[in-house]
Amino acid sequence: MSRTITIAPVTRLEGHAKITLQLDDAGVVQEAYFHITQIRGFEKFCEGRPYYEMPGIMARICGICPVSHLVASAKACDALLAVRIPSVAAHLRLIMNLAQLVQSHALSFFYLSAPDLLLGMDADPGKRHILGVAQVSPEAALDGVRLRQFGQQIIELLGGQRIHPGWIVPGGVNEPLSETKRDQMLAMIPAARAIVQRTLAWFKRDIEKFHAEIEVFANFPTLFLGLVDDEGKAEYYDGHLRLCDSAGNLVAGNLNPNDYASFISEAIEPFTYLKFPYYTPLGYPGGIYRVGPLARLNLAERCGTPLADLEWQQFRAMSAGPVLSSFHYHYARLVEMLHATEKIEQLLLDPNILDHHVRATARVNCNEGVGVAEAPRGTLLHHYKVNDDGLITHANLIIATGHNNAAMNRGILQTARHFVRGDQVAEGMLNRVEAVIRTFDPCLSCSTHAVGRMPLQVDLRAADGTIVRRMQRDSTQGD
């Protein structure tokens, strides 16, 4: 008798989702579905609004990574104005984007995934949360809090507030950086870097414990997509899109983000609101790709800062070609955070960073604009069309989590096939199915996120829909 296992809601993610596992008569997982159960209406309700409101409105998509949306949206607006923004404004935006990357990666690594990594996948779910981490490793928990604080404080120093700063605007940024704030930021960097370095040390030491997970956590060939600069270094603000295959061969080296519609298509599946982007020339599902930390480190020829480059070499040495297991998104996040602390320091030490010419002004000179940047979770794309008065007539967004949708679905199937057997489903098995999703750090609704306070219900259903067995995780317990 075939059965269905439902994991809903999936916990320790940003947003709401559920997973359905379809078992055959022998209890083997046949299909796996990752359902995003909510819809985002931003593209529609911003129609008719002035373009210069877009960064502020679009930032509200997410409370975790508003800066990513600010950056991509402001870049799309720059394109509408057809201006070249002052270089100091671009550098200031990059600093904020990197600070955002650090705080978001710290949230993903320490708050959401460290419970699995430090307590174990089979640990008591009642303890599998950041407070559980604090019990077994107070230093690691504190490091997570402090690192996130570092990123948030830089965002606040630049933009005046930690969440939804209105500082990034079409044409540049609102205010120049003061010397005092620059010095405050520089003073925070050594401690943040030390945290990343000691975290990298314990992660690399413990990584062998997760051999089984590394093998099956979305470990398969796909394409990889991300931004690189002209020298092939990892790029988080500008640059061009690069696409490589699972063997490391360049599929497309210099894709212009403005032409995204010519090489990215979106497939629709009936079981989820989230679309499935793919590289058009290779079709669906052959053209599916991954974005984010793993993709960026796979695509880049180096990071471009000394300490991160050494770590990048070690990271890439794990595999002859690109690193394929999505478990290593965690590892890549740590390398990226190290790079971010170095890059922020480099940018702040440039005396020109205090330049007062931080905004270009113009009217709408172009009726269509595309903005692309690297969000913590991957390539983020905003595309606007405006009328001659600058009112939005059309908006399209491709969010990083969307790019990874196909890989996440396939990853769940791979993990579930390995760990889930029959109707005797141990909690730890299902946690691994959730954990494969957490490696991607998806941001689903971009507004809600649970740290151990949401109930989890797993239903095993017979083919006729009757519940054979129900596993309920109490909302007062962990996960």
């Binding site: 002035p50 209105g166 008065d389």
Partner: protein, 238 residues
């Protein structure tokens, strides 16, 4: 000797007070440091009693009266602060918020908005009246300014400042009741108005983010209507 006394005596919130002839309850109350909330009133412009936030109780009157357009009478007993008035102010504010689409977080006037400030100071914690969510347009045709009907509370300050101070009378009101909205000239796009001098006075006096300078967003629309009384004074006949 004139038969009209130089001052009128009256009682406001239990305090004996005096007012000059022709002085409104609002003006007299402010001279006596008694708070009455307003949105459509602005020093330097005529009063129209549009927003209904300044309603006060006058002993002997069956209904509440707007303080901005009611003159002080000899022997009048006025109550500006009572549970009944507080309830009316709350309801009026809630009606204003529910009528159109006020989204403070992304509004250009955030933290500089008189409607928002009143909601905060009068302790409006919730809007219990169902929002109407009307579908309203934005006029961005003007070179420097934008009109967003979503945020307009129909105070008509823009109409009055344009007519009384600038003398252009570009702004006016069309429609009735819930269909009312401000227009430029004969309901032409603002950018095509023949009469607008682009002086920007309407933008400076707008209490919300309905009128704002282009390219300003989220909280950047700081306004300063303090020029009005000076203009008035300078233009007075010696």
């Amino acid at each position: 000797m004139s038969a009209t006394p130089a001052v009128k005596t009256f009682v406001i919130d239990g305090v004996d007070a005096s007012a000059r002839p022709e002085q409104t309850i609002l003006a007299a109350a402010r001279e006596h440091n008694i708070f009455i909330p307003t949105l459509c009133h602005l020093d330097g412009l005529s009063d129209v009693g549009a927003c209904r936030l300044c309603l006060v109780e006058v002993k002997g009157a069956r209904r509440l009266l707007p303080a901005c357009t009611t003159r002080v009478e000899e022997g009048m007993e006025v109550t500006c602060n009572s549970p009944r008035i507080a309830a009316y102010r709350q309801m009026t504010l809630q009606l204003l918020f529910a009528e159109r689409n006020h989204v403070c977080s992304v509004c250009v006037a955030n933290r500089h908005c008189e409607l928002q400030a009143l909601a905060t100071s009068l302790g409006m914690t919730h809007v219990e009246i169902p929002y109407r969510f009307p579908s309203l347009t934005v006029d961005a045709s003007h070179e420097r300014f934008t009109l967003d009907h979503n945020r307009c509370i129909l105070c008509t300050r823009c109409i009055r400042v344009c007519s009384e101070i600038e003398g252009a009378h570009t702004w006016d009101l069309m429609g009735r009741g819930i269909q009312s909205r401000v227009i430029t000239d004969l309901d032409q796009p603002w950018g095509e108005s023949d009469t607008c001098t682009s002086c920007g006075k309407c933008v400076q006096v707008c209490p919300t983010g309905a009128l704002f300078q282009k390219n300003r967003t989220g909280g950047q629309g700081c306004k300063d209507p303090s020029f009005l009384p000076y203009l008035r004074t300078m233009r007075e006949e010696p």
